[in-house]
Symmetry: D2
Subunit: 228 residues, 4 copies
């Protein structure tokens, strides 16, 4: 299997620094760094911001979640078709801050496929990463919950979980892309993640809460290029 | 207490007929009927559609739900600030298709207040309507779940629940506006609802799934004027 | 309204110190202190322990939760009839460690009534205490979640929330008994709680995790008698 | 791999026919049929009934669910240690009427192991059966939700899902026992299930709601013996 080009996906969570107009601004900066370095970058803004972000930048835009509902009487739910119509290219599923029933993870992946959305399913352990890989999403993202937002990078604090995840996921699914996340905040963290066999990183506060997001992201991209 | 002007709130749910561009179109039609008749109308589109609907029409726009989270690390959640930044005037809370923990209903109402969003808290029984009225939202909406989408109007099928709700709500809260919903599909249903002491209706399929939504809404507005 | 005799309800949670045979032992000690002092005491053991506790001691036994399900196909749920058949006299509902949908709180209270179980509905704030009091349970229990297990008694740390709860609950329900809980660990805490107008306390770690539960409970009972 | 002896597990759900004393009675009948035929049978009564059932019969007793909590402050939750102390040999996990977060399924399986409980993890599709098999429970049970309680047996109505489940599960886990369930109500249904490569059945209404449970179970056991 040929190695796919590494992917850096920035999750805006519900940070005010990345809400509304600031979501658009930050997406622009991220797009710029991507263009400058040639590294593949994407963003995951809040639902209300998807459309204007997608209309502004030319990088992949992901929703942070979709519900496993089909069109109809589901007030307050996030419909795949709605996210897609707004311009999203994909969606996170089962982020550790929005964990789902097993049955809904699988349904959400299938709904994403049917709607033409790429799916990134998150999992907190190597075993669960393999479990969700069986649903054949486009990507899985390993994020040990205890390291999320900690500033201590999973790729350095707990490289075994990354290696083990890659091994277990590959055993059941040879093509899914594998991201890792949690605590990623420097280019070295990204470099370490890729060296461990991942195809990119899922990052949030490391970029969104940085004093200079552009600079930090540039160092991430530089790490990607260093590896190439 | 002076009677407030009746309010007709149209919930778009996750109907494809009211998703994406069709959400904007339908909102325009609704606005037009409101202008023509002078009756106060509002819409509750999906999260991804709030901004473009709010940018297009000059009627109140409500979210269908907000989560009881504050800005930060809440991937996949619906932040009051995000909904507000997109242009929403208010939000539904605890719709029977998105029921909440008691503690989260109250938190969501307070978050709405703090963010400058009006709140419409739904409840399925008279007793629960009174319970949520204690949180002092702007409106409560009585919707017996068994009648939702049934085409059999709560105001005709079960007028007692409406009367009883008004009575119980008024006992604990003299100022909250009281809507009712479920099965509302004709002007007569609306007329009956207002006669029972409510301040308006919450309606979904009755308008959204109608062959001619504009015509049906016009008949609703005509019923409001008949009463005045 | 005549003041009812104060009630001390000990919640065993899932503490190993109060699981299985140790649940029976602890219940015996609690019964003994109740007998010695004439103070009304009760226990809330885990589901599996209800029957043997109820068969052993002659004090009220409460379940820690019931689900709002009726007999039938509800695998893994806690049926009111099952709890009752095991010998329970009542049940906690909506404890802050097992919070429920608003609609399920109300249903659970009604199911308890229909099954002949007394209900103690928990709430974390004065407003929510009033909201649940509308369902007309036998008791409400005010427990600010932030003080639970803290060793800092609600009746001393936050007497206002107790006073305010009593006031708000009484406004909508004149007969429901009002307990308070969270951090209660000394006789003085109990005394303070009763002085604030409550009808008893809900306590867990203060008794269950005490080096000498019998002694601590005796001091609680002594506080009750001091007041009488 | 040697084929293990088939296992018939009867889930009592929250049926009144199998609550309290009737749970004990029914368990006795089930034990008797097991003794008479030499077929391995087990029961899954409600939490409150585990202890008296386990004290009465000499067949495996399963809980219907455990929560993924450890001893401590988890009011209203079902602790593995409590279930074990009551005499249970194992537990169902993720039944379609008590579905769990992916992360909690895995935790519950690990907690069961640590506590000495056997685990039967339920799944509604072949893919999900494989996913849960990665957690290495003792058994997985395939139950398409749409057939549960239908009287139309999964092994006859949808044999492909059973075959496919066996295939997918075996690919990732060679030793886990595989049950199937949903709609099983005759000996022929059981026979068909075993012929499809399963190691037994999970059955509820087919036995519990039968006019003569003993007779129906006897026909199930006869089907097992026919195969041997």
């Amino acid at each position: 299997m040929e190695r796919s080009q590494p992917f850096l996906l920035i999750n805006f969570k519900t940070y005010l620094e990345a809400t509304g107009k600031r979501a658009v601004e930050l997406s622009r900066q991220i797009e710029k760094v991507g263009e400058n370095t040639g590294v593949k970058v994407g963003v995951a803004p809040q639902f209300c911001d998807i459309e204007k972000v997608a209309a502004t930048v030319n990088i992949p835009v992901f929703a942070q979640h979709i519900d496993s509902v089909t069109p109809g009487a589901s007030t307050g739910h996030v419909l795949a078709e709605s996210v897609k119509a707004a311009g999203a290219d994909g969606t996170l599923i089962n982020h550790s801050e929005k964990t789902l029933l097993l049955v809904d993870i699988d349904r959400a992946v299938q709904l994403a496929k049917q709607t033409g959305l790429r799916s990134v399913v998150c999992a907190g352990t190597a075993r669960l990463a393999a479990a969700v890989a069986l649903s054949e999403p486009d990507m899985v993202a390993i994020e040990p919950p205890e390291l999320i937002g900690s500033g201590r990078a999973v790729s350095k604090e707990n490289p075994e979980i990354v290696t083990e995840s890659v091994k277990r996921v590959r055993k059941v699914n040879r093509t899914v892309a594998i991201l890792c996340g949690a605590g990623i905040s420097t280019g070295d963290d990204v470099y370490a993640a890729l060296k461990l066999g991942t195809d990119g990183v899922l990052v949030a506060s490391g970029i969104v809460k940085a004093t200079n997001p552009k600079e930090v992201l540039a160092s991430f991209c530089e790490a990607v290029l260093r590896l190439a």
